[in-house]
Symmetry: C2
């Protein structure tokens, strides 16, 4: 395979390179793209070093796949060039996720949707992927009608600058020095911030609505309702989500547990799963499974996953694996 | 008034002393009680210094009130001595909270219940007080039927040793040294732990069931159902709670906002309220008010409060103020 990575120097882009190596993907050629400031930078790949290049009009010619790890604007700008070059774009931005023509894929859940792609496949939001991995096994037993989710999201969800801001603020507080929040709107050291994304008219944030809109598309549940609260917590890596969901039927916890145990890349932990333990792993941990006390058809659980791996890079690479396996 | 404080050297006990001073309570005599290890220790109170003493059989004679800041076992052991001495016990432990004869009081919500006391009044669980302060104004508009709550609880909820464990683990990680979790069952530095309290048969923890059982008693809602997930987060002080509740009627957000604005010791923040900002304050902050997307009669919000102040010490002192005002 000939693969390109757009945004190869960021946290997700670098993880994509590592995933290609770890998963022993048969990569004949790898092209790494980033902004002009990274041009010429060398990044190790297997036995070679690859120089980072800027995107040019013919950059994608001859590639089979391009993995996108850039923002909406750049994804939109470069997609026509990939289309022209007949390179399949697996995009991690939210630019195309809700487009009718664009499959939104978590391979373990709706991989078959990817086979209908028209050159562009979207990788879902990180918290949404992790939550869907945990609840899809339940949805297979009985359709989910609605869901409450409160997230505990790591600072690296805002990139390397989010990671650095937490470190710097802790250092400042330690030395009794003043500081101004920059990446996050309020202090993140020893504090939780219930605001991720921009506000919509209904009072929810863009990040919160992804759980409903993308969740509904991934699970093929057009009627799914989700009330989500997204919260940034002073954790470096991996997101966790407290979930309560209500199904069409009353489920037995034993059956739910069996369904989770039988799911690929999901692991149930009797000993409470935490973000620190799931970090740098490609799977989603689920725990605290119990009956919801508000509704007889309800289930509550806790799940967590590495948002840079399964929440982004790993999922994107798995989409390519799925396409290759089913072509 | 003649007041005793049981557990005067702990985080809550010390805060009780500060509250008595800050609120200019007319304290004629203050007796401070703690374990033998603190015996003789001097604690400043207004212009004097008070020596900490151990509890003896006649320790509570002549006192009007005893503020309890000790665990269940000690509260149970000493209550008969207070009863004999006719000192009113305002207990912060959970030993008596659900007893039918014991009022469970948040003065702003159900202060009048305190007037029926039989010598013993219970102070509710910290997260429950903070959540009830935020939702009681909504319950006055339309009765709450059920509620989903996910908490973001500070390490100082586990006392000074919880506070120290977070500091020590951050220091160890900074120096690349190994450590074993002691106070919390897993690493708390840069990690969230979805487990507070001991497990009950239904899979919920004792801390989680307090939100339902105590909430139901405080709000006079015997049918109230609460599905709660309690999570320890790497924050030093103050608890936050993500709440979604469903009422009997469909409410207008403007009316809800007006009800919150009109409530004593609750402040609505258009700029997202956070734990760091509410710390060392005696009020509860509410924000992120919006319609629940799962149910037409639902409301979602975020609230936070200082669990040592309004979640414990301040609330206990306010109970005495209420009794004094209405005697």
């Amino acid at each position: 395979m000939k693969i390109g990575i757009l945004g190869a120097t960021g946290a997700v882009g670098r993880q994509m390179i590592d995933c290609l190596i770890e998963r022993k993907m048969d990569v004949e050629e790898l092209r790494l793209f980033a902004s002009s400031s990274s041009k010429g930078k060398k990044i190790a790949f297997k036995e070679s070093e690859i120089a980072v290049q800027e995107v040019k009009d013919n950059s994608f010619e001859g590639l089979d796949y391009v993995l996108g790890a850039v923002g909406n604007e750049l994804s939109k700008r470069y997609w026509p060039l990939m289309q022209k070059a007949h390179a399949v774009f697996v995009d991690n931005s939210s630019a195309f996720r809700m487009d009718e023509d664009v499959p939104l894929i978590v391979p373990e859940i709706n991989g078959e949707d990817a086979l209908k792609h028209k050159g562009l496949i979207a990788n879902p939001n990180c918290s949404t992927i992790i939550t869907m991995m945990a609840v899809a096994p339940i949805n297979r037993l009985s359709r989910i009608r609605y869901m409450y989710a409160s997230t505990y999201q790591a600072v690296s969800g805002a990139g390397i600058k989010g990671f650095d801001e937490l470190t710097q603020q802790i250092e400042k507080l330690r030395n009794n020095e003043r500081f101004e929040p920059k990446v996050f709107r309020k202090q993140i050291a020893f504090n939780c911030i219930p605001e991720i994304g921009s506000y919509l008219d209904n009072g929810y944030t863009s990040e919160e609505m992804k759980m409903q809109n993308e969740g509904s598309k991934i699970l093929h549940l057009p009627e799914l309702k989700v009330s989500c609260t997204c919260v940034r917590v002073p954790v470096y890596r991996s997101h966790a989500i407290s979930v309560s969901l209500v199904c069409e039927d009353k489920l037995d916890l034993k059956d739910v547990r069996k369904a989770i145990d039988g799911s690929e890349n999901v692991e149930y932990k009797d000993d409470i799963p935490t973000q620190a333990e799931v970090s740098d792993k490609d799977i989603v941990y689920v725990g605290r499974l119990r009956k919801d006390l508000c509704n007889d058809n309800g289930i509550s659980l806790w799940c967590c996953g590495d948002q840079i791996r399964k929440g982004a890079a790993t999922n994107a690479v798995e989409i390519i694996e799925y396409l290759e396996k089913h072509k």
